[in-house]
């Protein structure tokens, strides 16, 4: 029997067993579990708060990922500029320091410093600061991802493009970057998922995301077991959904990959 098929049978049956256990437990404790869920999640206000938290999480994740892509691309391209004037050297070094500082410290610390130290007098939304912090953090990682993606394009591609008369920047834009992006896609998808999970710390600066909405709920009902397990399941299902989605896109992208 083929290994792929075997694996499918094993994983499906394990899923079946898990579901079976779950359903049995649910049936045995039907009333208790149902009561707990009703107690925690039945009020309209609760659902609204959770939904608002989810929206904030989505907002911070997507906006900071977009900012990270932009910053990462700029950082990566600055490094590639072929110019050794004093100014350029200084600029390149600034970007280098940026990358090593943001990769070299924990995200929570960056968030706290940016909110409580750098923007001490800032009175606007904490979400904005969260987006900025996560964007800066993500940019440092994304620049490395792009760098790897560009380096994975064979050197001959640039030479072929240049020998047709295209300039360096034209070659970069039309020949190298499209391939680099495809190389980098799996890592970028990974970065997105990491970012999504990491945004659960924005509660540190008072921004209400999905995890803080759940925590507030648990604090109100004192039913930590139910609320935290549901929170875990919600995060897992969302990440699983993203993974499936990215796999699908990746499949489409690799259709015309190098052979």
């Amino acid at each position: 029997m083929k290994a792929g098929l075997k694996n499918k049978i094993v994983s499906l049956s394990m899923l079946g067993i898990a579901l079976g256990i779950f359903v049995t437990l649910y049936l045995f404790n039907f009333k208790a579990i149902n009561d707990a869920l009703v107690l925690n999640f039945s009020s309209k206000k609760t659902v609204e708060q959770l939904f608002e938290g989810l929206l904030n999480t989505a907002l911070v994740t997507v906006a900071s990922f977009a900012l990270g892509l932009l910053l990462g691309m700029i950082t990566c391209l600055v490094e590639k500029i072929d110019n050794d004037s004093w100014w350029m050297m200084a600029i390149k070094n600034i970007f280098k320091i940026y990358v090593s500082v943001f990769r070299g410290t924990p995200m929570v610390i960056q968030l706290l410093i940016i909110y409580f130290v750098v923007f001490m007098d800032f009175t606007g939304s904490a979400l904005l600061i969260a987006i900025l912090s996560f964007g800066l953090n993500s940019g440092a990682y994304v620049s490395e991802i792009f760098r790897g993606g560009i380096n994975a394009v064979p050197k001959g591609q640039m030479e072929a493009s240049r020998s047709l008369g295209l300039s360096y920047s034209s070659s970069m834009f039309h020949v190298i970057l499209p391939q680099a992006f495809r190389n980098a896609f799996p890592s970028l998808a990974n970065e997105f998922i990491t970012l999504f999970k990491e945004t659960s710390i924005v509660g540190f600066i008072g921004a209400v995301d999905l995890s803080l909405a759940f925590r507030k709920l648990a604090n109100a009902t004192f039913d930590y077991n139910t609320v935290y397990i549901v929170m875990g399941i919600v995060y897992f299902l969302l990440v699983y959904l993203f993974t499936l989605l990215f796999k699908l896109i990746e499949k489409g992208l690799s259709k015309h990959a190098r052979t």
Partner: protein
């Protein structure tokens, strides 16, 4: 047409070519041969400044190649690589028309028309919408040649165009080059195909030990070279290859 004047090339203090002067004339078919690691590829890459010489000048039609004019000059110097270097994310047609359209050498409609003519000439018109990944090595290389020709170059450089091909595909690529040669294109070709070199070339550059030994007595070179190193080199290879 193309002239090297006292060109020295070195990488990290290691000299690859030393004080080379030579001239490629219009209509020349030049076979660049020699032992591996001798600098053949470096020589042909210097001709369109993919390799920048440490000293000396490369002149194309009397004008020195420089950082400022290099893109313009390269439009007239086609190059074909050992590894084909088609752009895998673009179809055959888009591979071909990318440069001429972006560089405003021709409008898109004209470019597509001319691309079709060239594809027909290399026998691959039916692959116009295929992606490089679905083509054989020989097909890829013929398309790489067509892509270079679409820029309407006056000089074609070939860097070991058949070295990465399976044996049964060598002929189809050599036929295309042979066809180009018979139409009067100026060609420089780095090759290990001695039979082919002897058949089409009117000059041989034998590259070894940082020097280029030049001769226009092609038959004489292959039967009884007056260069000792060349004699030694030729005695080690299969003459029917």
């Amino acid at each position: 047409m193309l002239e090297l004047k006292n060109v020295t090339v070195s990488f990290n203090d290691q000299t690859i070519l030393e004080d080379i002067s030579l001239e490629v004339e219009k209509g020349d078919i030049i076979a660049i041969i020699g032992p591996s690691g001798g600098g053949k590829s470096t020589l042909i890459r210097t001709m369109n400044m993919l390799v920048t010489p440490k000293s000396g000048e490369v002149l194309f039609k009397g004008e020195a190649l420089s950082k400022q004019n290099i893109n313009k000059m390269r439009e007239n110097i086609g190059m074909v690589f050992q590894q084909f270097e088609l752009f895998p994310h673009l179809t055959v047609l888009k591979n071909m028309i990318l440069a001429p359209v972006k560089l405003k050498k021709m409008d898109k409609v004209t470019a597509i028309e001319k691309a079709k003519v060239l594809l027909d000439r290399v026998g691959l018109l039916d692959k116009i919408n295929a992606y490089p990944g679905s083509l054989s090595g020989g097909q890829k290389q013929r398309i790489a040649i067509a892509r270079a020709l679409l820029m309407n170059p006056e000089l074609m450089l070939f860097d070991e165009p058949t070295s990465a091909l399976d044996p049964e595909m060598v002929k189809e690529v050599l036929d295309v080059i042979r066809d180009l040669a018979s139409q009067g294109m100026t060609i420089c070709i780095v090759t290990h195909m001695m039979g082919f070199a002897r058949e089409v070339a009117n000059k041989v550059y034998f590259v070894h030990d940082k020097q280029v030994y030049e001769t226009s007595d092609v038959d004489g070179f292959f039967t009884n070279p007056d260069n000792d190193r060349a004699k030694d080199f030729l005695s080690h290879i299969n003459p029917n290859n």
